[in-house]
Symmetry: C2
Subunit: 305 residues, 2 copies
């Protein structure tokens, strides 16, 4: 098995995780959680999103969160921005990196951004240009890279077309989102074969939702194909907007466990991650669904003293 | 990705699943469940165990279960037997196949069977010989093939030694059990590399517990190495005796989903499997933990009318 020695895990829980939680979380609780994430060894935390509060009320306090967190050296604190207005707010709060987003499928793009794919490009191009001029790196999220809740299966060449445009704009890294968690390793292989013909693996990240339990299998296949950056959310936060109650992002702690057991370094301390998961679990007042948290509870350990 | 076209799933829920449930299930409910399993397209169901009722009270009705189930042609109804006494009872009830079991590690074998590995061989050899003379096929379970809750990591050559002895006795198929669910694909690869040097893939089955969420990833690696038989339990039944409350066997329905999406035939109807899972879920009076059942509930569907 050809595997990388080291993998970067990008924690998207505070943004992709919390945005699916209905109960409004206090800014202070978010800040405490992000501060505890900063103590785990993570090198990248996506802390919030500057979309209009009308769309995601949970993240309306993005500016406050960015202002109040304690920033550790060596950690990138990133924020999602939908447009120039969002970018301006993110720059004002000095986010270390900004992320733009769109979908590989028309149906999801229309539903999520209210624009066609072609209408989206100029908006993102402007954001990327301004962000780069402000000295920021830019991440591009491409959603629905394997399947779309509206259009069905998405062909790799569709993803490649969008990826081409985003890289041409100057995006530094693309995060390929398997948004609805239906994908299996054969599909991941087919997608990556197509993309890696044109783009270096160092500029691609995989972002799996674990709705059908296939995320870790998909990650192993991605590793074998040379991918070394993965998004995840502590506690498997995120839910699935297309099947309420179902699982969300692949859980950071389950990913850490598997990678470490496979001899792959992450730089993250699993115990510290579990402590941080326990913190947000208490804030949310519900049991998180990851396997590591299940075992943690089963063992009856008290890690927060 | 080199993959088989067809895979055999062996359902171990009625035995390996239920034996970990504390609440005693009525024989009638077990029979109803097994009858519903027979309508899913499964070709193999392990229905119970003839161990002494003192050890597993839940399966004390093994003979009754075997007597009362409706047997479909083309389905193998198997039973676990620990010794000659158990075998006699299984033969009396005309189990189609019997399974013997032991561990690859001394610690687990001692704890589970109360014998050393060397003391176990003659007991199993007698059972295998008698079973073959009665015209039955025999399955051999080897537990703790990657790690042992008492001895830690288990080396592939230890597993090979036990496998050698069991095949020499005349066992038809070995099921390699990753009993505590700690394994990752690199370990599976290393184990199978060692075993496939000596034994044909057609005589090996993999039996993964999903305690840490790695079972599907381990199955994909096994598939790539040529394994075409997998054990699973509907609803992920089975728990983990070493971490109460944690997950059990890999869930049959999650495995079916993944295999079908990968273009691999199982002969099983996923909807029928979910109906059957709903049946045992109602009997147990608790939510099953598989992802497919999670989605099923999230979608609010009523499959049993």
């Amino acid at each position: 098995m050809k595997l990388p020695k080291k993998v970067t895990i990008k924690e998207v829980g505070p943004r992709d995780g919390l945005q699916n939680e209905k109960q409004l979380i206090l800014t202070e609780d978010k800040v405490n959680w992000i501060n505890s994430l900063s103590e785990t060894g993570l090198s990248y935390i996506e802390v919030s999103s500057f979309v209009h509060p009308k769309w995601i009320p949970q993240l309306a306090d993005a500016a406050d969160v960015l202002r109040k967190i304690k920033r550790n050296q060596g950690i990138t604190y990133a924020a999602l921005v939908p447009n120039i207005k969002g970018l301006d707010r993110a720059l004002e709060m000095n986010a270390d990196e900004v992320s733009v987003f769109m979908s590989a499928s028309e149906g999801h793009n229309l539903s999520n951004i209210n624009k066609t794919i072609d209408e989206t490009y100029p908006v993102l191009a402007e954001v990327v240009r301004e962000a780069k001029m402000a000295g920021k790196t830019v991440r591009g999220y491409v959603s629905t890279v394997i399947a779309c809740p509206y259009d069905g299966l998405v062909e790799p060449h569709q993803v490649k077309k969008v990826a081409d445009r985003l890289f041409a704009m100057g995006v530094d890294e693309l995060s390929l989102g398997e948004t609805i968690g239906v994908g299996v390793p054969t599909q991941v292989e087919r997608l990556l074969e197509e993309l890696l013909r044109e783009f270096p693996s160092s500029q691609l990240a995989m972002h799996f939702h674990d709705t059908r339990g296939t995320a870790l299998a998909n990650i192993v296949k991605s590793l074998e194909m040379g991918i070394t950056t993965f998004d995840s959310a502590l506690g498997g936060l995120g839910g699935c907007p297309y099947a309420k109650g179902a699982s969300g992002n692949v859980a950071t702690e389950d990913l850490i466990y598997m990678l470490h057991e496979m001899g792959i370094e992450t730089g993250i301390d699993l115990d510290a991650a579990l402590k941080s998961a326990q913190l947000i679990e208490r804030t949310l007042g519900k049991e998180l669904k990851s396997r590591q948290m299940e075992i943690f509870r089963a063992e009856g350990k008290e890690r927060i003293s």
